[in-house]
């Protein structure tokens, strides 16, 4: 027992992957269900037919793949495949209640490293097809990532400073008395924004925006598109899991077992992100860059300063 969680043997990796996949399916199903919720009074009389995740998957599996002329196919495929792979690698250090697949002393740094690898993945997915819209999508992601990544890193550091460890299990255990979200709300919000950012989701979905014909998704069809879309939901789920572990006390809670609390908290963050997506317009990447550097970076640094002063004073 280190840091309150038990490491599992390496053979459990497929199970952890399936758990993450289940979360992603729930998120996608919720997203689809909200799409067919009546929008306003005028709509209530004519509800549309529900779209299901299975149908969407079946459609993409039946669809043919495409390769645009002179595309950089190898790099494109690498970019596409890297999205779900990155999500699963994140989940490897995520404590699922009392268990974790890998109880790494540098878990926080690992999460950070993988989320930066997503930059390469999304950019390659945009570069690969040799298409103007996709390329613009890829560069939009870079502009956006330059703005959300530093606030995300500082937000990640705050719980680590408070817990005095980079081990995720240790961070979870340090919240036994008080969840970190209570005294580092700014870091929590910046973290959630970062999760939306690396999942290319909601207000930060401009790289896949419909104004550039789907951006990084513009040329992907069939199974390639399926993998990118699945990767986005998997990343969103993994990110929500980390939000629950780092800020919401992980598996801590009364009555229910630790894994159930962890699942509930993850789903709560996930649903909040999916629901919020509908409420907000997309942020324009060029304007977001200035806000990221001039507002989010100082604010998260201030949060970090408060946290370190409290830690030293205690």
């Amino acid at each position: 027992m280190t840091g309150g969680v038990t490491p599992l043997s390496a053979g459990w990796a497929p199970v952890v992957a399936l758990v993450l996949l289940a979360g992603a399916v729930v998120a996608a199903a919720l997203d689809a269900a909200l799409d067919s919720v009546p929008a306003g009074r005028a709509d209530r009389a004519r509800p549309g037919r529900r779209r299901t995740v299975t149908a969407a998957v079946a459609r993409l599996l039946r669809q043919r793949r495409r390769v645009p002329v002179a595309a950089d196919v190898l790099l494109w495929r690498i970019g596409v495949a890297a999205l779900p792979v990155a999500a699963l690698l994140m989940a490897a250090v995520l404590p699922l209640g009392r268990w974790t697949l890998v109880d790494w002393p540098v878990g926080v740094v690992w999460f950070n490293a993988v989320d930066v690898a997503v930059w390469a993945a999304v950019w390659l997915a945009g570069w690969g097809p040799n298409s103007a819209h996709a390329l613009i999508g890829g560069y939009r992601f870079l502009a956006q990532a330059l703005a959300y990544e530093l606030p995300l890193m500082f937000a990640l550091t705050a719980p680590a400073v408070a817990a005095g460890t980079l081990r995720i299990g240790g961070v979870v255990q340090a919240q036994q008395s008080l969840w970190f979200v209570v005294w580092m709300p700014v870091a929590f919000l910046a973290f959630c924004l970062g999760v939306a950012g690396f999942s290319v989701f909601g207000p930060l979905s401009a790289p896949a925006g419909s104004d550039i014909a789907g951006g990084v998704l513009a040329e992907a069809s069939g199974v390639d598109r399926l993998i990118v879309l699945a990767g986005r939901y998997l990343l969103l789920t993994a990110g929500s899991g980390f939000a629950a572990a780092l800020f919401l006390g992980g598996g801590a809670g009364p009555l229910l077992p630790a894994w159930a609390w962890m699942a509930l908290k993850t789903l709560a963050v996930l649903s909040a992100l999916v629901v919020l997506r509908r409420r907000l317009p997309v942020l324009r990447p060029d304007r977001f860059m200035e806000v990221g550097w001039l507002v989010l970076v100082p604010v998260t640094l201030l949060q970090l300063l408060v946290v370190s002063v409290v830690v030293v004073a205690r």
Binding site: A42, R51, R64, P203, S210, A213
Partner: protein, 410 residues
Amino acid sequence: MGLSERVTGAAVRAASVLLVEVPGWADTRVAVERQVRCRGWRLATSPADADVLAVCGRPGREFAQAVQAVWMQLPGPRARVLVDDVRDCAAVLEQAATALLDTPRQRADAGSRGQATDLEESSLAPAPAPAESDGNQNRSDHVDHSGDMDDMDDMDDMDDMDDSGDMNMDMPMPGGVPLASGAQDDRDGLEMDELTVPLGPVLPHWPAGLVVRCVLHGDVVVQAQVSTLGPAADHAPKIMAGTTEGWQARRAAAECDSAARFLAVAGWDHLSQRLRRVRDGILDRAPLEDCAQEVAQVTRQVRRSRLLRWSVRGLGVLGRAPWPPGGVPDDVPALLRGDVRDRLLTRLDHARDLLLDRGAGEPADPQLERQRLDRLPELVTGLDLAAARLVVASLDPDASIVRRHPGAGS
């Protein structure tokens, strides 16, 4: 083969439709949109995302070529339908679904098409030619040509041909397409590659029949040229009859549709959906007071959103002259004044006023539509693509009206 049939059935239940609207067939497009939603289908963002290509209206020759080029880009299983009449659209989409379900036919279709190794280039549309759009030409001040407009186009065409001739000799042309090459004057003083990216006629949330031929540095528009594509000459667009009594309600529905398109470009899908529903309600003769009330609610939400205000502030400003301080009188019509957000709010207010029968104006104002088109190139030049799309969506010129009155305003 129970399983594979079930997979196919599920796949077709989630089909997505790429809409192409020919100017003048807006009512057909609206009907198809509703039918798509009714079936639980979805609108596609690009041909890669589409199973069904639905052409609303009868396109002219050049437009038809463009449609054919898009048809080649659908991955398959695919189905192409032409919807000419509002009443047909349910049946036509049912046909599309049947075609998608027919696996042997889809396999045969797929087998007959080009593989990644051999491209069917010859059958694709040529680069945008101004052939059909005579009289609707427009370009930004960035081009240093002078003289008659038609001559200018001809010269440009010759230039293009010369350029590609040069490239043939000293540049590699993978896949038969030349590499991007340098622009003369980049704003950063660097050598830049120029990309020619035409926007329209087939693009999600795009005004019907509009083509903006952009030259991009990265994602920044440095040159824009506007033209329109129209319906086949012998098929004059029908004026929608029988759906509503007065033109006011129809105009209000069109304004809601346009505002919904702007919100979709801004990425605010929820509100966009809501406005589309209001539009459908108006066309279904729901009580106009209720519709007006709902429009007012949406307007309030738009007005209150700080995020939207921050995100589009100062974009595409028309008619405000803060310099010199008194402001000079200008000729910008009231409906076009301000930045893109102002235009959106004006549009929504206009829709509400029309519904409450307080509206002034006329059913279709060719002068106004002409202005929307004419002011577009200079407004989008220098913006990034996201901003340019917002500006286009805020102006939303109606190509069918402009084409019907070619002399207006100019």
